[in-house]
């Protein structure tokens, strides 16, 4: 191929890719616009938050149009973008819509709660949009280079966002801890990526799947140094992802960062960053397995990865729930709750890996296996959608209460129900949903995930342990949420407490109600979203 042909192919490829990449381009344009708004001093007349919201709505509309296209034509499976660096499929589009919608909610929350102030608003939204752009790349990454770039692109603006309140001691400490852990985890992840790319001779995820089958034929026993190196590489990449998920031994940053950061940033990091990291984890795991059940020569290695993830999930959940007991600061409590929920969701991915790679000797059909794996991913997606609403609702309530009482201590929530019944009831609904009580959405999400784990338990005994630990944890977690709710509903209003006045007719009241209603709706009308989740999961395995 000569130079002219090469250029022609590149141009054609880029021209085909750009329209499918339009939601992200919209974010990029908004970021540039925000920088200009700041530079030219337009932000005195047109607040940065408005510019950011316009850009996000445009991006969301484009992503929604892509979603409609997929429904119109379900023969489309996946399209590689930019010579295969990214992939465009229903999974990508689902997460794009998820992330952009979440971004919109967070932007509106920051407008209501007044963090950041007028002066810093353009900078803050540049960081927020940049981070979301990174997450959006994370869910569509199809190449190890993009995996690393996207993870870094998500992390680097979040470090700055955690330390955004410049004069505060705790805020600066939180961001320092976050950046030190984050940079370390990214370094380890990159080394793992280099080992994988070198061993397999390619960094393109679909090509890696094929190369792994070939690799497995030559080196299959675990005693082989090449297989050990491969396992090391996989482990190191998983360290990077586990850091983003705040899964057990890599969770240290999470409580500190959440306590030091404003509640709005905490809410953003807990849902968006976690959702994107799960999408990336699913993509990476499926790239290893190659989307076929149980016939890879390296199945035993992947089975161990799955069981390892399951054990990690069980430990993460237990740790998060136990550590949440003694917390006095509500943001710190929610950070441990976030860790616990990352554990529940990780169980779904672990179950998927176990189901796909358990020895096929027991006669279960490959199609049945794939169907079970689809139901695991379906559960994960449903859980994420519910988590979006219930977790953001709690963080939004924390932000609104902070604006009036200047406190985030759980003790200062005493008697909240007498001051603002709306906030108290919404907090009750969201927290019961976080526990997983019917009829809230959290119950359905947990039910679907545990159902997947139960299916995996038929194939590997360790998954029974994971299943039981998960169930026990659901019961444990009730108590620390109840401690907050007891304070809100039963404790008497202390003398001289600062008033909390968030009526239904205010922006804040409507916003909280709007966030909490879906939590109930998702618990009662399961079919619409679970149908979408099932379609997306099925498409993911068909490709």
């Amino acid at each position: 191929m000569n130079f002219a042909e090469l250029i022609e192919r590149l141009t054609e490829n880029t021209q085909n890719s750009l329209p499918l990449f339009s939601p992200e381009l919209c974010l990029v344009v908004t970021i540039v616009a925000l920088l200009f708004v700041r530079l030219l001093g337009i932000d005195r007349h047109l607040p940065g938050s408005i510019v950011a919201i316009i850009g996000t709505v445009a991006g969301l509309a484009l992503a929604a149009l892509q979603w409609r296209d997929f429904h119109a034509d379900d023969t489309v499976t996946s399209v590689p973008l930019f010579t295969g660096l990214l992939v465009y499929d229903p999974f990508t589009v689902f997460f794009r819509v998820f992330l952009l919608l979440f971004l919109l909610f967070v932007e509106y929350l920051t407008m209501i709660s007044g963090i950041p102030d007028q002066e810093d608003a353009p900078d803050f939204y540049v960081l927020l949009l940049g981070s979301t752009l990174g997450m959006s790349l994370m869910v569509s990454a199809n190449h190890l280079l993009m995996v690393f770039l996207a993870v870094e692109m998500t992390s680097v603006p979040s470090y700055a966002m955690v330390g955004f309140l410049k004069g505060r001691r705790l805020s600066s400490e939180a961001s320092l801890k976050y950046v030190v852990y984050g940079a370390g985890a990214a370094g380890v992840m990159l080394y793992g990526i280099s080992l994988l790319a070198g061993l397999l001779g390619t960094a393109h995820l679909p090509a890696m799947g094929a190369a792994l089958v070939e690799f497995g034929r030559q080196h299959s026993s675990f005693g082989d140094p090449a297989v050990r190196t491969l396992a090391f590489g996989i482990l190191m990449v998983l360290v990077g992802v586990a850091f983003k998920l705040s899964a057990f031994p890599f969770h240290f940053w999470c409580p500190d960062a959440f306590e030091g950061a404003p509640a709005e940033v905490g809410g953003f990091l807990s849902v968006a960053s976690k959702g994107a990291a799960f999408a990336l984890l699913v993509r990476f795991c499926l790239a290893l397995v190659g989307k076929t059940a149980g016939d890879s020569p390296l199945s035993h290695l992947y089975l161990n990865v799955g069981v390892g993830l399951g054990v990690m999930a069980a430990v993460t959940t237990t740790f998060g729930n136990l550590a949440a007991y003694t917390q006095k600061n509500i943001k710190r409590l929610m950070a441990y709750s976030t860790i616990a929920h990352a554990g529940y969701m990780l169980m779904a991915v672990a179950a998927m890996m176990v189901i796909l790679n358990a020895p096929a000797g027991d006669g279960t059909l490959v199609t049945a296996r794939t169907a079970s794996a689809v139901s695991c991913i379906q559960g994960l997606l449903y859980y994420l959608v519910v988590y979006f609403f219930m977790n953001l609702s709690v963080f939004a309530i924390v932000a609104l209460v902070r604006n009036q009482t200047y406190s985030e201590e759980i003790a200062d929530y005493a008697g909240l129900v007498k001051q603002s019944p709306l906030l108290a009831v919404c907090l009750l609904v969201s927290m019961f949903s976080l526990v997983g009580m019917p009829p809230m959405g959290g119950f359905v999400g947990k039910f679907m995930v545990f159902y997947g784990v139960l299916e995996a338990a038929q194939l590997h005994p360790v998954m029974w342990v994971v299943f039981v630990v998960g169930l026990l944890n659901t019961a444990f977690s009730l108590f620390y949420y109840l401690r907050v709710l007891r304070n809100v509903f039963i404790s008497p209003l202390p003398e001289g407490a600062r008033p909390v006045d968030v009526p239904l007719a205010s922006d804040g009241g409507r916003y909280i109600l709007f966030l909490t209603l879906p939590v109930l709706v998702l618990g009662i009308f399961v079919d619409p979203i679970s149908g979408v989740a099932r379609d997306v999961a099925t498409w993911l395995f068909r490709g």
Binding site: E152, V156, R169, S175, V180, V188, L190, A197, T202
Partner: protein, 103 residues
């Protein structure tokens, strides 16, 4: 002297990686920790360039290492800004003194 083979490069990269991890784990100064991160990233970079020369990874490896160099610079810039912010509030960049956020 015969030209160095792949293993020699991988060995050096491994040494860099371990030095970086040890540096990250033991340094008390925030800037020292960041230097450890740079060592880890450069260890990985050396791996990529060596694999580009000796395995079918080819040009991909070199391109990845270029991206990583740029990214490491961006990350260092943010990390130094955060360290400076920490210094402004605490008058030290000793990581062990960052202990006010505790349960």
């Amino acid at each position: 002297m015969p030209p160095a083979d792949l293993n020699a490069y991988l060995f050096i990269a491994g040494v860099l990686f371990v030095c970086g991890v040890v540096c990250m784990a033991t340094k008390r100064n925030a800037v020292g920790v960041l230097m450890g991160v740079e060592l880890v990233l450069n260890g990985a970079n050396l791996n990529f360039v060596a694999f580009a020369r000796f395995t079918p990874l080819g040009l991909d490896g070199q391109v990845i290492s270029l991206f990583v160099i740029v990214l490491a610079a961006a990350e260092a810039a943010i990390a130094l800004a955060i360290a400076l912010n920490f210094y402004n509030n605490h008058l030290t960049i000793d990581i062990d003194r960052a202990d006010e956020l505790k349960q």
